[in-house]
Symmetry: C2
Subunit: 114 residues, 2 copies
């Protein structure tokens, strides 16, 4: 068992192509014994965003702070604290900060990425 505050985990810049003003904290990982899925927090500054991309694995997301929108390549859907976002495998997706303060979301991915 492990109990720790998320801010005790270092926030790293996300250097992916198409990512802007975004950091990630890897909270629960396979290195800690989590064999099935990983928990991360993404912190996106105002006007920042994740890449617009898709991949064969799903995202399970919970919005912790701030305001943003989910862009699927055509339509932007707003979200805020308390919202849940489920992204299916192979769906085009981008998370954007559309507010004036930091956007903080929990985002989980499976380790079984096939």
């Amino acid at each position: 068992m492990d109990v720790f505050h998320y801010d005790s985990v270092k926030a790293q810049n996300v250097e992916m192509e198409g990512a802007s003003k975004i950091k990630v904290r890897w909270l629960i990982t396979k290195e800690m014994g989590a064999k099935n899925f990983a928990m991360r927090i993404f912190e996106i500054e105002p006007d920042g965003h994740t890449p617009l991309h898709k991949h064969p694995w799903e995202h399970e997301v919970f919005v912790l702070e701030g305001e943003g929108e989910f862009f699927d390549g055509e339509k932007a859907t707003p979200f805020k604290f308390g919202d849940v976002v489920f992204v299916l495998p192979n769906e085009l997706h981008q998370f954007r900060n559309s507010g004036r303060v930091l956007l903080r979301i929990i985002c989980l991915i499976p380790y079984t990425k096939e």
Copy 2:
């Protein structure tokens, strides 16, 4: 893609033996297409708790609101908003509300429970 507020999902009483004053909202499930893991919120009233039990699958937990403690059968470890709790497979565990307001935690489990 699906975006919704967690309170749009019905909170159901948890009727397990050893559970007290606790409700669950199943937010992301296999019925929605989540094949690898499920996202739930547990809402525990003051003095309420989950069962003290263990099982062959892990928990990945994020504390959203309130104050509580993690009990491993011997020792109680306090937690609050922003804390992350990782429970390994087969670890004895209980989540307790030790505060005066509702305790709300996100708790994820794998569907690969072997």
